[in-house]
């Protein structure tokens, strides 16, 4: 079941949450909506679910080529998982999951034994069958999120929408649960959209990522695409750490902070103010200058607890630069605070104002 969002705009008073947003989610895909708070990602999700109405006359939502704009929340058959679970607190886990089946009109309601079998099958699917008689207050956060998911799946939704599904969990549970969600999705292949502000989560779980900012979609692509080929400065900034150097290109030469772009760089033909972006792991740390774009810096801080060693360095002009290198390379160089090194960018991404190459 594909989802098609066409030219949706949503305003709250004078605040525009979504500006003419269009999006296609393919059937069976797990799509991540990624963006900072206030970027409109949750609003978009709630509009797809039918919990919010888009501005009148602004656009349509199609589920598998069928316009659902006029359909109420209950008729769209979406499964929705809330960030804070929204479990019915006065019902047991079993009753929570059975709710969607029990409220059906009599002619479509499954029999008691069918409901029981289906609920237990779902609880087994989310691996909490043994908690059926507990109340939500007796469960851990991770268990509650599994109940919320089972409850959403009980009504056999056509699409599954998850609003910051792991946002309220601690780091370890979050990692575990998102891997599990990815595996679950590979099993049931239900078209799913989830909202997150955590780029690591989006990159790890999604088939494709939608990066949103200020009510607009900045880029849609696979995790590899958005990470390695960001469409704009915002995406570059938002996905992972990055060093930014202010500068300008003029008369065939381009200076960005301490970096002069090599003569064969295509950016040199551009003209105007701009910014050069270099990811910390794409800065080669060396003890001697190598090449024209190599620039000096002094090690200011060393964070060695992690998979990579993170360095904070200071250029002679006073700019702070971050670099990452493997532990083996770090020991080989024998770095300490105050060591003078040379940094050589392996990949530079340049954005010149009104002129993106």
């Amino acid at each position: 079941m594909s989802i098609e969002v066409r030219h949706i705009t949503k305003t709250y008073g004078s605040f525009t949450a979504l500006r003419d947003v269009s999006l296609h989610v393919r059937g069976g895909e797990l799509m991540g909506l990624l963006g900072p708070s206030g970027s409109g990602k949750t609003t978009l999700l709630r509009i797809i679910a039918g919990l919010e109405e888009p501005d009148p006359g602004s656009g349509t939502i199609l589920f598998h080529d069928e316009d659902v704009a006029g359909r109420g929340v209950g008729q769209r058959r979406v499964g929705f998982v809330f960030q804070h679970y929204a479990l019915f607190r006065h019902m047991t886990v079993f009753e929570n999951v059975a709710f969607g089946l029990r409220v059906r009109p009599r002619e479509r309601r499954p029999s008691r034994s069918e409901i029981r079998d289906r609920v237990h099958a779902l609880l087994a699917l989310v691996q909490i069958d043994w908690l059926a008689d507990r109340y939500p207050s007796q469960l851990s956060g991770g268990q509650r999120q599994r109940v919320a998911l089972a409850r959403a799946l009980a009504v056999e939704p056509r699409v599954l929408l998850l609003d910051e599904p792991f946002g309220a969990l601690d780091a370890r549970v979050r990692q575990e649960l998102r891997r599990w969600l990815r595996r679950l999705h590979d099993e049931i292949h239900l078209t799913s959209v989830f909202v997150t502000h955590d780029q690591e989560e989006a990159l790890e779980v999604s088939d494709r990522i939608v990066v949103m900012n200020a009510g607009r979609i900045e880029q849609v692509g696979t995790p590899e695409e958005v990470f390695h080929h960001p469409a704009g400065e915002f995406v570059m900034h938002f996905l992972g750490n990055v060093n930014v150097f202010q500068g300008r290109a003029q008369d065939g030469r381009a200076f960005f902070g301490p970096i002069e772009l090599p003569a064969d760089s295509p950016y040199r033909s551009a003209a105007g103010q701009g910014r050069a972006f270099v990811r910390p792991h794409e800065l080669e740390v060396e003890l001697h200058p190598a090449g024209a774009e190599s620039f000096p810096a002094v090690v200011a801080h060393i964070h060695a607890a992690g998979a990579q060693v993170r360095l904070e360095l200071q250029t002679p002009a006073g700019e702070t630069v971050q670099a990452e290198l493997p532990h083996a390379r770090y020991r080989e160089l024998g770095l300490a605070r105050g060591t003078r090194v040379y940094l050589r960018p392996k990949t530079i991404k340049v954005f010149v104002d009104d002129y993106v190459i």
């Binding site: 679910a49 039918g50 919990l51 109420g72 929340v73 209950g74 008729q75 058959r77 979406v78 499964g79 929705f80 809330f82 804070h84 679970y85 929204a86 479990l87 019915f88 607190r89 006065h90 709710f99 969607g100 409220v103 059906r104 109340y135 939500p136 207050s137 007796q138 851990s140 956060g141 991770g142 509650r144 409850r151 959403a152 009980a154 009504v155 309220a168 969990l169 601690d170 549970v173 979050r174």
Partner: protein
């Protein structure tokens, strides 16, 4: 779940208390003052009511209660409460549902208006009804021409009782519903529940203890209301006297046993209310605690 946590918190408290204690004579003096005040202003009146009521023995007490006028007063009081409490439940639920779950223009005005009966003196509330339904009032002549008497009759007493009790259920439920938000209702709608199913299966069970608490308070006030009812009643014995009014009438006639026997009924109601209130409060707190742990999750 919360049991062991509480005791763990309390154990270091013992040391803390020793370190911050006042000298013995100060503590005894304060306790004596508090007990003296309690005895003088709370326990003694309670004892006096029952002592006076039973002054001439249980037979006289029961005879006073069996008096037809007293029984009529009891019936009228029960009737007023029987109308006021359900009216309050319906209005309170509707108002709290609207205020707690939706945003609309005039919301804060409505919230303030609900408190109006608490803010004005009950006597004024009664006078308002005299102005509206009296023979020289706005609707009085029109109603009188059609043979409907509101003032100095049962409808006036019921109206005044409903007016003074309006805030009870709504005030209990508004903060509760606001705190609970509307995510559970959204979840229910998304799962295909109708509006009514959502209300009955999700919203109502979530506020049941608050609702019951409001009903208990509302009932106590409906039965005990004096000022507003006194203005609209006309004090016709056996017809328009509620229990509190009847107590006053009997007392003014120096029928002390009768007055205090009727008063003892109201006192018993008060004691019963307090017991019910504390039971409901304990249950509601347990429910809130469960909800809090639900919200905090473990992350």
């Amino acid at each position: 779940m919360s049991g062991p946590t509480t005791s763990r918190v309390l154990r270091p408290g013992a040391d803390w208390r020793r370190a911050t204690r006042e000298p013995a004579w100060v503590r005894r003096l304060l306790i004596a003052l508090a007990l003296g005040f309690l005895g003088l202003f709370l326990v003694m009146p309670l004892v006096v009511v029952f002592a006076q009521a039973l002054e001439r023995g249980p037979a006289a007490y029961l005879a006073a209660l069996a008096d037809p006028d007293t029984r009529a007063a009891v019936r009228l009081t029960l009737l007023a409460a029987a109308v006021a409490v359900p009216a309050n439940v319906v209005f309170g639920l509707a108002a709290a549902w609207a205020i707690g779950k939706f945003n609309f223009v005039g919301k804060s005005l409505l919230t303030t208006l609900i408190d109006l009966p608490f803010a004005v003196s009950p006597v004024i509330a009664g006078l308002v009804f005299v102005l509206l339904f009296g023979l020289h009032g706005w609707f009085g002549p029109w109603l009188d021409a059609r043979g409907v008497q509101v003032l100095f009759a049962v409808p006036g007493i019921v109206l005044a009782t409903v007016f003074v009790t309006v805030p009870f259920v709504a005030r209990e439920l508004i903060p509760l519903m606001e705190a609970q938000g509307h995510e559970e209702e959204e979840a229910a709608l998304l799962l295909g529940a109708s509006g009514w199913q959502t209300f009955r299966r999700v919203t109502l069970p979530n506020v049941k203890w608050g609702l019951l608490y409001g009903v208990i308070l509302c009932n106590a006030r409906a039965m005990g209301e004096f000022g507003a009812v006194s203005v609209v009643s006309g004090h016709i014995r056996g017809l328009t006297n509620t229990l509190p009014l009847h107590v006053e009438v009997l007392y003014n006639e120096y029928d002390f046993v009768g007055a205090f026997a009727a008063a003892s009924l109201l006192t018993l109601l008060a004691l019963l209310t307090l017991v019910a209130k504390s039971v409901v409060e304990a249950r509601a707190q347990a429910a809130t605690r469960a909800a809090d742990t639900l919200r905090e999750a473990d992350g």
